[in-house]
């Protein structure tokens, strides 16, 4: 019984904070999507108008779909680039393993905003890449390479995410029992067969985790596209931001935001299922 008092004292402040300033705002946002307007009398009228608008407007859905494609491309490239690094660190780096891993991770801890800013400066038409290529005589005239395109968003985000994807793949590879690899080799598997039939399948939980680590936050991105994406690179997150900052249609923005929230929760649900299943399969 005395435990109950202790738990109450410890847990009440964090629970209150999260309920009042995290769950409650989400609930109010959900309610706001039914309001007719942002201000004044319209605010007190409840309507399904925005739902109709959202589901009839093909533009919104296309942007959501494009954002999913951007997130998918970003995840795929991040995993492709990070997998060999994780493999090298897990199997080849030996005593240098932790040092090399730390060196790789440090940039991920520096300012996210400033690294995106750096990419904007690098890719711009008066930017570093152009002037470097010009002065090296590799190109004739300056043109924005990549900047203000979906490719620029993907490149910048892949750059940001590589260290975050390396970690789960690395730890999945670390957990593999080395005797399994020896056994496969003893039974006549060529090195590439050992990789394809033993190492890769056993590392899949890490790959799946890395995929969701990238896909979920990328789907909700709005800062990177507004720095380097231009019109072509605009993402769903920019659309939400626009409803609150420029269009001042908060109810519609709330609905868009709610759709995003539900999508994320669904993905996390899938993630928790998939990873547990593949963990079981790996045992």
């Amino acid at each position: 019984m005395e435990h109950r008092g202790r738990i109450a004292v410890l847990m009440t402040p964090p629970v209150l904070w999260l309920v009042l300033l995290f769950l409650l705002p989400m609930a109010i946002m959900a309610l706001f999507s039914f309001r007719a307007g942002t201000f004044g009398a319209e605010r007190d009228i409840f309507t399904l108008e925005h739902y109709r608008e959202f589901f009839q407007n093909a533009g919104f859905q296309r942007l959501l779909w494009q954002s999913a494609v951007t997130a998918l491309l970003t995840s795929a490239f991040s995993i492709l680039l990070a997998y060999p690094i994780a493999y090298f660190l897990a199997f080849r780096a030996r005593s240098m393993q932790l040092t090399l891993l730390t060196i790789l991770i440090v940039p991920a801890w520096t300012s996210y905003l400033l690294r995106i800013l750096a990419w904007k400066l690098i890719l711009g038409s008066n930017g570093l890449l152009n002037s470097f290529l010009l002065s090296a005589g590799l190109i004739e005239e300056a043109a924005p390479i990549l900047l203000y395109s979906r490719a620029a968003v993907v490149v910048t985000l892949v750059y940001v995410w590589i260290p975050f994807v390396t970690l789960p793949i690395f730890s999945a590879l670390q957990r593999i029992d080395r005797s399994l690899l020896e056994a496969a080799a003893d039974l006549g598997c060529a090195p590439w067969e050992v990789f394809l039939r033993v190492t890769l399948p056993l590392s899949l939980p890490g790959v799946v985790a890395g995929f969701f680590f990238v896909f979920i936050p990328t789907l909700g991105e709005w800062v990177t596209p507004s720095f380097v994406g231009g019109v072509e690179g605009t993402m769903y997150g920019n659309l939400i931001q626009d409803q609150f900052v420029r269009a001042l249609n908060w109810p519609l923005g709330s609905l868009m935001s709610l759709v995003m929230l539900i999508l994320v929760i669904v993905q996390i649900f899938i993630f928790s299922r998939v990873v547990r299943l593949s963990d079981l399969a790996g045992v």
């Binding site: 964090p14 946002m29 400066l121 709005w222």
Partner: protein, 270 residues
Amino acid sequence: MRRRDLLSPGFIYYALLTLFLYAPILLLILFSFNDGRSLTFPLKGFTLKWYEELLGARELLDALGNSLVLGLASSVVATALGTLAAIGIARFNFPGRSAFLAVAAMPMVIPYVVLGVALLILFKTINPDAPLSLWTVGVGHVVINIPYAMLIVASRLAGFEANLEEAAMDLGLTYWGTLMRVTLPISAPAILSAFLSSFTTSFDEFAVSFFLIGTESTLPIYLYSQLRFPSRLPLVVTLAALVMIGSVLIVVFAEWLRRVGQPAARKGDL
């Protein structure tokens, strides 16, 4: 690793990718010393004038001050709440524990745009005329940082058996006395590490701040507003270089703290 390993394809790939990760940061630092207004090659020569100009940029220093105050205040609150929750979940089993964990972890995965607009709506619903300020941004930053603070401290506590605390209570300390004299001292490195991690996150945070800031400015908000003016770019780059170097130092220090006193650290690892 032996010399032969340095020429292996694996290491060469590692080196190239690491270079790719560091290059933009190194370029920012390089150009902060470049004697020219435009960020273009070839470099113009070495100068410290941008660093001198930084010292005279009033608005920028205000924004820096705001970010420091915001970071300190929101990190103290987030670390305190996270530590309470960590002790609760690491030492007790109670109904609703797993539900709490699920909710407390959510701010880590919710897109920041969703969190930002939801808090904006909350504040405007409570009082439509309420001005946005550093306070409202701080509330958002605390929500963002609670899960990380909680996980950092909880993982430290999981590394120590609860019997230390039980021993202290057997020897006559009250539960709260034990908390102050055993549990918190044990957690101290993790609590400091959680604080530093919260601080760096808050200091860099843009996506949520953007919706919740009023007329004041934090450093990321100020930097964003300066991007429209090409002539201000060298100053932006110089500030960026300083912040990068500072955050690397803080991160290395926090990581060192996390490892200090970690039981069973293998000597060969570092």
